[in-house]
């Protein structure tokens, strides 16, 4: 038996797993397989500083190139995995190479959901997930160009903010009646809508895109029965977990690879971490998280379990988004039935919304409000009962809530 640890996927979770396995003292050879041309890199800056052009490509990489050989990790790039043969404990690569494993981590991530409307395949329709995507977009992302953004979520709005800053003519089309509807409370949606409009972005809410038209390349978007001329279309309508390889191997899959709190699949030799997984969250229901935090924490837990020191994963999820000079920080997972407590005035561009459930903080959304975010996160983790009136009272410093 080789004792190899094979990691499928060279993203944030994969890189974290290498780091955590070595930190746990695991010495087995590691082989990490990625289907992109690059070693593991940070995706968050892609739609922010990297697109803006003030973050050079080398800074995106999570580790120095020398890190992988020094860590006895073989990086196999530009290569996908064709199959997992669980009985023989072998992964078969697209180039025919077969690698045996003792432990396997699936960190396959997610891929963009593609637009399905007439004209969706025209030249000039862009997505944003990889370095290659941004480099392609960058070539046409110039002042004066008209960009139609499909989807008013994190990606669409971060690109809108960068576009407005760089002098593009930006229109955002969102099918729902508010921005970031899946991620934030209505107060935040309204605040961000007014900020984008102030920056010159045109917002079309409750307006789904019906078609993209043009002669060989995009020339206009048809939405809500109207025609909007444009030069570029950027689609940001969510991601789909890459769980097909696991499903093909007969592992439990349900819109994500099903894992337990030790990041373990139903096969004792196979773990999974990051955007590709579905797990029972700290609140007891099944969730699928798409964020850096989950990639890092789940990979750490997979590494601990592989090292024979499993620890139950119950970290509070956190997220952030940079749009203009606004730092949005979110901790916890909101529910539509939560009681909302606002702290601070949105007009001051510094405020927070707390989500209370059973008298405790379940989630916090903070705009330019680090204390609210940091203390809020702590309150969520501790699950202490909290008084709503005190939380809303700006004269009481956040530190006194802890």
């Amino acid at each position: 038996m080789s004792g190899n640890i094979v990691i499928v996927g060279a993203g944030q979770a994969g890189a974290q797993a290498v780091q955590s396995l070595r930190a746990e003292g695991v010495e087995a050879p590691i082989i990490m397989i990625g289907d992109e041309a690059y070693p593991p890199y940070q995706r968050p800056p892609l739609s922010k500083a990297y697109l803006l052009g003030n973050f050079e490509r080398p800074r995106l990489f999570l580790k120095a190139d020398s890190y992988y050989p020094e860590s006895h990790c073989e990086l196999v790039l530009n290569t996908s995995v064709a199959a997992i043969h669980r009985a023989e404990r072998i992964v078969e690569l697209s180039n025919g190479r077969k690698i045996d494993y003792d432990k396997l981590l699936l960190a396959t991530g997610a891929r963009v959901r593609r637009l399905r409307c007439p004209g969706a395949d025209l030249a000039g329709v862009h997505y944003l997930k990889t370095i290659a995507d941004v480099d392609g977009l960058q070539e046409v992302f110039q002042a004066g160009k008209r960009i139609a953004i499909v989807g008013g979520g994190y990606i669409g709005l971060e690109v809108a903010a960068v576009g407005a800053k760089r002098g593009l003519d930006v229109t955002v089309f969102e099918a729902m009646d508010r921005l970031m509807a899946r991620a934030v409370s209505p107060a935040l949606s309204d605040f961000y809508a007014s900020e984008h409009e102030k920056a010159g972005v045109t917002l079309k809410l409750k307006t789904g895109v019906e078609a993209i038209e043009g002669n060989g390349k995009v020339e206009r978007v048809i939405a809500g029965g109207q025609s909007y001329p444009c030069d570029i279309v950027l689609v940001g309508i969510g991601v789909i977990p890459c769980d097909e390889l696991a499903a093909k191997a007969g592992l439990g899959v349900s819109d994500g690879i099903v894992v337990d709190r030790n990041a373990r699949t139903g096969d004792p030799h196979i773990w999974a971490a990051g955007d590709c997984t579905r797990h029972v969250g700290r609140e007891g229901h099944e969730i699928r998280l798409e964020c850096v935090q989950n990639a890092i924490d789940q990979a750490k837990h997979a590494a601990m379990a592989m090292a024979g020191r499993p620890k139950s994963y119950s970290e509070v999820p956190w997220f952030w988004s940079d749009q203009y000079d606004l730092k949005l920080q979110i901790a916890g997972l909101a529910q539509p039935t939560d009681m909302l407590v606002q702290r601070g005035d949105p007009a001051s561009r510094k405020f927070a919304v707390f989500h209370l459930r059973d008298g405790k903080v379940a989630a916090v959304e903070a705009v330019n409000a680090a204390p609210e975010y940091m203390i809020g996160k702590k309150l969520i983790a501790e699950g202490k009962p909290i008084d709503a009136a005190r939380l809303a009272d700006l004269s009481i410093p956040m530190k006194q809530m802890a």
Partner: protein, 111 residues
């Protein structure tokens, strides 16, 4: 500008020192993370969103650093084991003036 590199020394809480070269304009967090110096997690990758890249700046270097922004100040407020010479290394950019800077690392970065 591009290509110029300067030295930074990171000292773990155990006393183990690591000297690495950090390109000009990069953050001192990036200099540590890419070379896998233990003690700096920087989970958010430098967005000043997680406060897990705290360092203690060695005497003599503090005055050469830019003042803290409000965001750094408030994030630091909530980091563990904060001292007067604490900074978030994601907010410090390498420059000729900082060539040779010495940073001490805390024991843990998580609350």
């Amino acid at each position: 500008m591009a290509g110029q590199k300067y030295k930074a020394t990171y000292i773990e809480s155990t006393g183990q020192a690591h000297t690495v070269e950090v390109p000009e304009g990069w953050s001192l967090m990036e200099g540590a993370v890419k070379h896998l110096i233990p003690g700096i997690d920087a989970d958010c990758g430098g967005a000043c969103a997680c406060a897990t890249c705290q360092v203690y700046v060695a005497p003599g270097w503090e005055a050469k650093l830019p003042p803290k922004t409000d965001m750094e100040e408030t994030m630091l407020d909530f980091a563990p084991d904060v001292k007067a010479n604490s900074r978030l290394s994601c907010q410090l950019r390498m420059s000729a003036e900082l060539d040779g800077i010495v940073l001490n690392l805390p024991k843990t970065q998580h609350m």
